[in-house]
Symmetry: C2
Subunit: 404 residues, 2 copies
């Protein structure tokens, strides 16, 4: 395509083609944080499994709790199995312990007085059912407690443990190969020759992919020749689900990536109607998807955050309603008087909390090629083509996901 | 303390006592995501290091760009070192390539026409300085590009790479020991006896600590005796910075954790004025901090999210302005007519986007002891003691950090 492609249209096009991984594997709970659940977790038992005490106190028959002090007939610590409650008595009971048969209420310790002979008197009226947690009250056997397609959080794992699951079935990690081309690139830590620049794209892209849960196959810098680029593509396609590069897909004739992908598979080149970031390539090599980000780090980063991240998450098995960051509408703290007439602009902005609430401030140098604006920002403000902003106007704000 | 302790006062008290770790270590960039920067990263060079082209096109002297077509005297790919620009000529140049001496502008390819003899004609006026990125424009040597005390994101690492840093100095991970007591506890995957419950606390606490970047020493379930608890405390104090348990710190007499900590170190017991979650213990054993969460998983989780997480992050070296999640004010989609008169309530809520914007819905069963509400929720809505809410009222919303 030579025309500018709308970002929303590009995203919809990509998501239609993002086939979720079908391979799954069992995973121990304590290793499953961030993994994507492949099948719903269904409760196989009631929680709590038995009626139990919500308090430290006394298990009683509520009808017997009059002004008369009652003797303590048994003691029920958590983990024990109580005898039925003898009529005319109470049982000392502790939080989580099963209530004895015959008991219909628990009185918290703070609402009792103990006589010298050990008998217990009640300082407040006792209501049937009070301080008893009923079997199945929290989770009923058969209920879906975690839906498929969700990334597992710490609380999800605690919830799965509470019904006794030791493992969960998760989607295997998405394997993403990355390589970088350009004879001007030097790895950090090495001396910089004249006309050379450090390969910064590798150092944001690999961690960003790992933050999404991908297994990264990092091929490093590939020599800037057609043959080396084709060989890297073939190697990556043999073992990975997705191949990503930065740069090499613009109209310049020094770029071998485009012709290498065309020789080994197929390629679509887009000019995205976004700023920063315009050249974008996608296609396939063998059974692997190919994604070519713009070589400018800021353009690449913004294109990754807006377009590629949802595609990768969908490929990795995330449910459709989980793909997009939660967008907010917040007022801007600046004027934006010369919008791009044709392209959606993603300004790198920060949330600043002041007396009048939260506002978005922008990084001063939006045109920079280095990631300072992205490292500084809390997320992206989306300005529509031609949209003029005055301080106080509301705008769509997309926070960066944690770690990215 | 036997009185209810205000949550904000408790947090302030804890943060004053949270001594940041002083030990640091070098870390390779590709392993540093999520690590906490121990010293600012200062640029040692200009970025870009030389004036270079922002476009694929032609390097020119702007004063020479008249109606006359000019010959191409050299070709400057990225990574090469150009000769000075011959007067009366232009140089073919590519994005990122250094501009030749004498050149003061780059004309993008799309604004040129090539004659049959190879000479180049310009279709638009040429402005001095256009499409040239100046040395030091993005980062000036000597500038602080990343502040100390920040957790390293993918874009931070890309930024550090762009000035050639191969490693960053980070704070060593905080070591946290955890153990769980209670004879009623059974590990998931094992059969549940009568009066037993699964140990769900381990399965949210360990991943939540790992999500914060802590190294976890997981001692599992410790037998519910004073001697075993004291032995676990001594073992943990010998190797860890912080010791955490769930349960065992309420007023019930079956709890050995309190007396074990008092025997091995010192302990403060608080009744926090929060709901869910009331009993909270903190103290020390040897040089390690001790934190005792309530045993009810929801109480423990909420206490962790509101009180313990900022404490641990501060201990781990995070800067003070980074400790707290960004709070938002959002309207509720429900009425809350019977608030607790004395305690701050943390409702588990979800952001729902409708036609009128974003609103907070609450989990129906706020009183549950299992983590279903926390797994379902996007975060916590904070209701002040005695605060009555009607649908549409604004409330303070604290999103859960990712992975927790």
């Amino acid at each position: 395509m030579t025309q500018l492609t709308d970002i929303d249209a590009a995203l919809a096009w990509l998501l239609v083609r993002a086939t979720p991984l079908a391979e799954t594997e069992p995973c121990a709970l304590l290793r499953a944080r961030g993994r994507i659940l492949a099948a719903p977790v269904v409760a196989t038992l009631d929680v709590p499994p038995h009626d139990n005490s919500a308090m430290d106190g006394y298990a009683v028959r509520s009808s017997e709790c009059t002004d008369v002090a009652l003797p303590v007939s048994q003691r029920i610590p958590a983990g024990s199995q109580p005898a039925p409650l003898e009529p005319g008595t109470v049982a000392r009971i502790f939080t989580g312990a099963p209530v004895p048969a015959g008991c219909d209420a628990v009185v918290m310790q703070e609402e009792t007085l103990q006589e010298e002979d050990g008998r217990v008197r009640f300082t407040r009226p006792v209501r049937a059912g009070q301080n008893i947690r009923c079997a199945g009250e929290d989770i009923a056997a058969g209920a879906v407690i975690l839906p498929a397609g969700s990334p597992l959080s710490a609380s999800d794992l605690g919830l799965a443990a509470s019904i006794g699951q030791a493992t969960v079935e998760v989607v295997r990690p998405l394997r993403v190969a990355v390589f970088f081309t350009g004879d001007e690139l030097v790895e950090p830590g090495q001396a910089l020759g004249a006309a050379q620049i450090y390969n910064s794209n590798r150092y944001w892209l690999v961690p960003a992919l790992e933050a999404l849960g991908c297994t990264v196959c990092d091929l490093g810098i590939v020599p800037d020749t057609l043959e080396a680029t084709r060989a890297a593509l073939r190697q990556a396609a043999g073992s990975c689900d997705v191949i990503m590069t930065c740069g090499g897909v613009s109209v310049g004739e020094e770029d071998h990536v485009r012709s290498a992908v065309e020789a080994e598979g197929r390629l679509d080149l887009w000019k995205l109607a976004i700023k920063p970031g315009k050249p974008f390539a996608c296609g396939s090599v063998g059974s692997a998807d190919f994604i070519g980000l713009p070589g400018n780090p800021v353009s690449g980063f913004v294109t990754f955050a807006t377009l590629v991240r949802p595609f990768l998450l969908r490929r990795a098995g995330l449910a459709e309603d989980r793909l997009h960051p939660r967008v907010m509408r917040l007022p801007v703290a600046f004027d934006w008087l010369r919008p791009d007439p044709k392209r959606t602009e993603y300004l790198r902005v920060r949330i600043v909390t002041g007396e009048t609430g939260q506002r978005l401030e922008k990084f001063p140098h939006q045109g920079s090629g280095v990631l300072a604006s992205c490292a500084w920002a809390h997320g992206l403000a989306r300005v529509a083509p031609g949209q003029v902003l005055a301080a106080g106007d509301l705008i769509e704000f997309m926070p960066f996901p944690e770690g990215i």
